[in-house]
Amino acid sequence: MITSAFEYHRPSNLAGALTVLEEHGDDARVIAGGHSLIPMMKLRMADVPHLVDLQDIADLKGITVEVGTVTIGAMTTQHDLINNKALLAAAPIIHEAALQIADPQVRYMGTIGGNVANGDPGNDMPGLMQCLDATFTLVGPDGTRSVKAREFYEAAYMTEREDGEILTQISFSVTNSGFAYEKQKRKIGDYATAACAVLITKEDGKVTSASVAMTNLSDVPVLSEAAGAALVGTSCDAIAMKAAVAAALQDIDPTEDNRGPVEFKIHVAGIIISRAIARAWSRA
C-alpha cells in the first residue's frame, strides 16, 4: 500500500493543468478528492508518473443557481453540496443522495467532478446526473465542449472524456419534481448493492414526466427510459409501478460480488426502484 514515485503538480489555473496533461499525455492524471485514485495508486493498480492536483484552481469550485440553471464546479465537495441552501432549493435530490455517500470525512474531500468523471459504476453521482439530464463541460487542448451525462459513460472507467481533457463543471435545470434517491448498502463507505434516483412531475393526479436511473447495477449508470415511460400518464398506481420496475430491471446487468449473487441483486434492485418511485411520487 505504498505508491510508486510520482511527480506532483499543483497548478493554480486550468491552463496550467491542461499544459501538464498535454506535456505528459498518458503519464499524467488529474486528482480531485482522491478517494478512488489514491487507493488505486497505493495498490499499484494505477501507475501515475505525473499527478495533477486541481485543488488550487479556484474557478473549479462553487455552486450557482441562475435563470433556472444550476452550475456546479467540478471541485465542489460533497460536503459543500450538502450544505448549499440554493442547491437544496433548486435540486433537493442532490442533498438526499450526497448524504448517502460514505461518511463526513470522505465528503469533506470527495468532489462531484471526481465522482462523475472517474466512470466507476459504484459512484452515486453518475446515475443521479443521468436522472437530472445534466450536462458535463469538458475543457481540453482543442477548447471546450459539452457532453450529456446520458451519453458520457461507455463502460466501467471508460467515458467520453479524452485523455487531455478536464471535466470542469456540471449543469442541469432547476427541478421542482418529486424526487428520491434510494440506496441499499452493507455499511458506511460501501458502494450500493442497488441504488436508484427518481424524478417525477405530476399534474392533475397524473405523472407528466418521470426519470429513473440506477447505480451499481451494470458496468455503467443506467437510465431506464422505458421505466420512465411506463409511469407517464398513470397515477403511479400499483400496476404502473410494477410495469416501471419490470422495465427498469430489463435495463440492468448486475454482477455477483461480495454483496451477493445476481438473483439477489435483481430482487433488491426491484425493491429499491419501487421505493424510490413511491417516495418521489409522494413528493410530486
Binding site: M1, I2, R186, K187, I188, G189, N258, R259, G260
Partner: protein, 804 residues
C-alpha cells in the same frame, strides 16, 4: 489534630474499587500522543517489506533478487536460503507445529511471506518488492477441510504423514490432531434413549480480529554490547523474549522486548509472525535497526484469523425439556500451519466449555484439526480460547432444541441452568465453575425487556405479516453465556512450557506515591487506570498517585501477557497480593511509629489506626516516608513487594443478553431496535471501563454476526482483504446498548473479580444471530449460518418462500 476529612471522603479520594475513575490513558490517546510501534524511529533505521505469494498453493521454482538488489537504496533481500544457515527459515508455532518464516520450496496460502526486502525507506522497499522475480508452479488448492481430509494432495510435505503430531496420532496427511473430552459412549447411549433429540450442523465462519493498528516490529541489534532490543505489537512481550532467545541463541538477558502503546490486539498480536523474525535477522545482518510494519491487506490476509469451526451437535432432553446429554464434533480449519494460540495442552482451546450455563449430566466433544490452503491462525478474537465457538454452539443447540420441543427458548434455558447452590459446579467436560447465580440474572434480564410483552408483539407482527400488512418481521434474540477466563492455573495451562501465572511488582516512593509493574500489557483495556484502583483499595494510596507500567521486559516482572481476559483474574490478583505484602510491612512500620504491638493496629482506608482509638493513626504517606528515613528494628528499609500469582482456578463470568430486531424480508436488511446486556463479572473495579468494554465487545459481536468474514474463492484467493469488504462497524451501524449487571464475586480471586473484556463478544454473537433466526422461526426456520449479511438474510426469506 482534628481530621477534617470524613471517612467517606477518604474512600472517595482513593478512587479505588468501584470508582468510575476516568481513564488515565485517554489524555494521550485522544490527543494523538500515543506512541505506537510505527512511531519508533531509530538512527540509521532501515525498513523491511515482504514479497508475498499471489497463489494459495504453488511450488517456488526460483527467486531472482538481482533487479531488486540493483535498485538504489536496497540493502538486502532475504529468502529462505539466507535464513536456513541460522535455522530460522522455519519457526515453531504456539500450537506445537512449525511455520515457514519465508517460503521454503513452496507456498501454502495466498499472501504467504516469500522474501524480505530491506531498504533505506518504506518507499524504496515497496519498489524493490515489485522487482523480485519469483517463478511459481501452481499446485491444486484445497480450501475445504472436509475435502482436505479426502484429498491425495499433500499440503505439508515437510511432515512425516505417519508420525504423530504435537497432539497425538494423525489420521491423514492433511490431518493435524484429534482432541477429545468427555464420555462418547455414555453420551451416545443417553442420546439414543432420549425422549427428544435435536441435531444441527453449523459453520462458525472464519473472521479476523482486525485491530486498528496492524502488526509490526522494530529490531535493533547492538553488535558492540551484544544486546538486541525488539519493539513490537506483542500481547505477550515476555513470551516473545523467551522465544526470541530460543530461536536466535542470544541469551535472554541480552534481549529486551518492548510493547509500546498497542492499538488493539483482540488475539491478533499473541503469536509470533515472520515479520518479527525477519526484522531481527535483518538487524543482525545489517547491524542497524530494521522496522517492519504491515499494511491492512497484509494484516487481513496473513496474520492470525479466528474461528473457522464446522460444528455438528446432538442434544437430548426429556419431554419436559430437561437436557440429558450433549454431543459435539468439530472439524477445525487451521489453515496452512497450526498456529493457534492456545495453552499447550488445549489444541481446541476451551471448546469443552460447550455445555454452557446448563446442568448437562453427560457430554462429549471431539475436535479434528485440518490443514488447508488458507492463512494460519485460529486465535481467540476477543474471547478466551475458542469460547465464542463453544457458546455459539450451545446457544444455537438450545434454540434448536426449543424448536424440537415446541417450547419457549427462555423457559428452556431457565429449567436447565446450573442452580446457585450447585456452585462450585463440576461440568461434564471437566471444568469447575467457580460461582454463579444464573436464575437471578436471567429473571432480571427478561423483566427489564418485558419478555412476555415482546413475544406478544412478535405474535401480532407475524399475524400482520401473514395478512400481508407488513414486509418486516421481528426477532427476539436470547443468549445466556458462561465464559471461562483467566488462564492458568500453571498445572493445566502453559504457553511453550511457560506456566500461565502473572505478576506484579510494587515500589512505594518515600513521599507516598507508587509505581507498579505488571507482566501483562494493555492494548486499550485501561490497565493503567484499573490496576491502580485495585492497589488504591489494597494499600490506601490514591489511584492518581500510582503509576502502572507494563510492556518492557527489562523492567516488568515476567508475565504471560494480556489475552483471554486473563489480566484481571491473574495479574489483577497478583496486584492485590503484592499490595497485601506492602500492607503487611506497612502495618509493622505503623505499629512501630505508634509505639504499639503489630496486632494492635488495623488498616482503615488510607491509614493504620490503633484498634479502638482511631484518632491515633499513621497515614500511608507517613508510613512510606518512615520506611525510607527511619531505622526500624528488625525491618529492612524501603517498601516494595512482588507477587507471582498462580490462580487456583479460572474465573467464570456470565451474562444474559436480549436483542430485539426488525428484518426487512425483501432486502435482507436488519434493524436492531434494542440490545440489553446484563453482565456479571464478579467484583466491579471500574464501572465506566466495564461499560466501555461491553460496548466494544458487542460492537465486534455485531460485526461477526452480521457480516464480518474472511472468505476465499475456490482458488484460495482471499475475497475480503480490504475494509471495503471486511466489515468493521462504525457508529452508524452500531445500535444503542443498554447495560446492566449483577455481582457474584469469584470465591477464589483475592478481590472477587472475574474479567469482562471478552464476555460481550462471547455472549453477543449468539444473541445477534439468535435474533435473526428467531425472526424466521415462525416461518419455519431452524438454523442458518452466519454471517447474517443482507444477502444471506434475504436468502433465508427466499428459501422459506417469503418472496412468493
Amino acid at each position: 489534630m482534628k481530621d477534617e476529612v470524613t471517612r467517606e471522603e477518604r474512600v472517595t479520594n482513593l478512587k479505588g474499587l468501584g470508582s468510575s475513575r476516568k481513564r488515565v490513558e485517554d489524555a494521550r490517546f485522544t490527543q494523538g500522543k500515543g506512541h505506537y510501534v510505527d512511531d519508533i524511529n531509530l538512527p540509521g533505521m532501515l525498513t523491511g517489506d515482504f514479497v508475498r505469494s499471489p497463489y494459495a498453493h504453488a511450488r517456488v521454482k526460483s527467486i531472482n533478487i538481482d533487479a531488486a538488489m540493483a535498485l538504489d537504496g536496497v540493502v538486502a533481500v532475504l529468502t529462505a536460503k539466507d535464513l536456513e544457515p541460522l535455522s530460522l527459515h522455519w519457526m515453531p508455532t504456539l500450537a506445537g507445529d512449525k511455520q515457514m518464516v519465508l517460503a521454503d520450496g513452496k507456498v501454502l496460502f495466498q499472501g504467504q511471506e516469500v522474501a524480505f526486502v530491506v531498504a533505506k525507506d518504506r518507499y524504496i522497499a515497496a519498489d524493490a518488492v515489485d522487482l523480485v522475480e519469483v517463478e511459481y508452479e501452481e499446485l491444486p488448492v484445497i480450501v475445504d477441510p472436509f475435502k482436505s481430509l479426502q484429498s491425495d494432495v499433500v499440503l505439508r510435505e515437510d511432515l512425516d504423514p505417519t508420525a504423530p503430531g504435537a497432539h497425538g496420532p494423525r489420521k491423514h496427511h492433511n490431518h493435524i490432531f484429534t482432541w477429545e473430552a468427555g464420555d462418547e459412549e455414555g453420551t451416545n447411549a443417553v442420546i439414543d434413549d432420549a425422549d427428544v433429540v435435536a441435531t444441527e450442523e453449523m459453520y462458525y465462519h472464519r473472521t479476523h480480529p482486525c485491530p486498528l493498528e496492524p502488526c509490526g516490529s522494530v529490531a535493533s541489534m547492538d553488535k558492540v554490547n551484544g544486546k538486541l532490543t525488539l519493539y513490537g505489537t506483542f500481547q505477550a512481550p515476555h513470551v516473545v523474549r523467551t522465544v526470541a532467545s530460543l530461536l536466535s541463541g542470544i541469551e535472554e538477558h541480552n534481549i529486551r522486548v518492548v510493547s509500546p502503546d498497542i492499538g488493539g490486539g483482540f488475539g491478533n498480536k499473541v503469536g509470533v509472525y515472520p515479520g518479527y523474525v525477519c526484522s531481527i535477522v535483518a538487524s543482525i545482518v545489517t547491524g542497524v535497526p530494521v522496522k517492519w510494519v504491515e499494511d491492512r491487506m497484509e494484516n487481513l490476509m496473513s496474520t492470525a484469523f479466528a474461528r473457522d469451526y464446522w460444528m455438528k451437535g446432538k442434544i437430548s432432553a426429556t419431554k419436559e425439556g430437561k437436557i440429558t446429554g450433549l454431543h459435539c464434533h468439530v472439524t477445525a480449519d487451521h489453515g496452512a500451519f497450526d498456529a493457534c494460540a492456545d495453552p499447550t495442552k488445549f489444541p481446541a482451546g476451551f471448546m469443552s466449555i460447550c455445555t454452557g450455563s446448563y446442568d448437562i449430566p453427560i457430554a462429549y466433544l471431539g475436535v479434528d484439526g485440518v490443514y488447508t490452503n488458507k492463512a494460519p491462525g485460529g486465535v481467540s478474537y476477543r474471547c478466551s480460547f475458542r469460547v465464542t465457538e463453544a457458546v455459539y454452539f450451545i446457544e444455537r443447540m438450545i434454540e434448536v432444541l426449543a424448536i424440537e420441543l415446541n417450547m419457549d427458548a427462555a423457559e428452556l434455558r431457565r429449567i436447565n441452568f446450573i442452580k446457585k447452590e450447585q456452585f462450585p459446579y463440576d461440568s461434564a467436560l471437566g471444568w469447575e465453575y467457580d460461582s454463579g447465580d444464573y436464575h437471578t440474572a436471567w429473571d432480571k434480564a427478561l423483566k427489564a425487556v418485558d419478555y412476555e410483552g415482546l413475544r406478544k408483539e412478535q405474535a401480532e407482527r407475524v399475524a400482520a405479516f401473514k395478512r400481508g400488512e407488513t414486509r418486516t418481521i421481528m426477532g427476539i434474540g436470547l443468549s445466556f453465556f458462561t465464559e471461562i477466563v483467566g488462564a492458568g492455573p500453571v498445572k493445566n495451562c502453559d504457553i511453550l512450557g511457560m506456566g500461565m501465572f502473572d505478576s506484579c511488582e510494587i515500589r512505594i516512593h518515600p513521599t507516598g506515591s507508587a509505581i507498579a509493574r505488571l507482566g501483562t500489557i494493555s492494548q486499550g483495556q485501561g490497565h493503567a487506570t484499573t490496576f491502580a484502583q485495585i492497589l488504591a483499595s489494597e494499600i490506601g494510596i490514591p489511584a492518581d498517585s500510582i503509576t502502572i507500567e507494563e510492556g518492557d521486559t527489562d523492567t516488568a516482572p515476567y508475565g504471560l501477557g494480556t489475552y483471554g481476559s486473563r489480566s484481571t483474574p491473574v495479574a489483577g490478583a497478583a496486584t492485590a497480593m503484592a499490595g497485601r505484602k506492602i500492607r503487611a510491612k506497612a502495618q509493622m512500620i505503623a505499629a512501630y511509629l505508634l509505639e504499639v504491638h503489630d496486632d494492635d493496629v488495623e488498616f482503615d482506608v488510607d491509614r493504620f489506626v490503633i484498634k479502638g482509638a482511631p484518632e491515633r493513626f499513621k497515614t500511608m504517606g507517613e508510613i512510606a516516608y518512615a520506611a525510607y528515613n527511619q531505622a526500624i528494628p528488625g525491618l529492612e528499609p524501603g517498601l516494595e513487594a512482588v507477587s507471582y500469582y498462580d490462580p487456583p482456578n479460572m474465573t467464570y463470568p456470565f451474562g444474559a443478553y436480549v436483542c430485539v430486531m426488525d428484518i426487512d424480508v425483501d432486502t435482507g436488511v436488519p434493524k436492531i431496535n434494542r440490545f440489553y446486556a446484563l453482565d456479571d463479572c464478579g467484583t466491579r473495579i471500574n464501572p465506566m471501563v466495564i461499560e466501555g468494554q461491553i460496548h466494544g465487545g458487542l460492537t465486534e459481536a455485531l460485526a461477526v454476526a452480521l457480516g464480518q468474514e474472511i472468505a476465499y474463492d475456490d482458488m484460495g484467493n482471499c475475497k475480503t482483504a480490504t475494509l471495503m469488504d471486511f466489515f468493521l462497524p462504525t457508529a452508524w451501524e452500531v445500535p444503542n446498548f443498554e447495560t446492566d449487571f449483577t455481582v457474584t464475586p469469584s470465591p477464589h480471586h483475592p478481590i472477587g473479580a472475574k474479567g469482562v473484556g471478552e464476555s460481550p463478544h462471547v455472549g453477543g454473537v449468539p444473541c445477534f444471530s439468535n435474533a435473526v433466526q428467531d425472526a424466521f422461526r415462525p416461518f419455519g426456520n431452524r438454523h442458518t449460518n452466519m454471517p447474517h449479511d443482507h444477502w444471506r438474510i434475504w436468502k433465508t426469506a427466499n428459501d422459506l418462500g417469503m418472496h412468493d
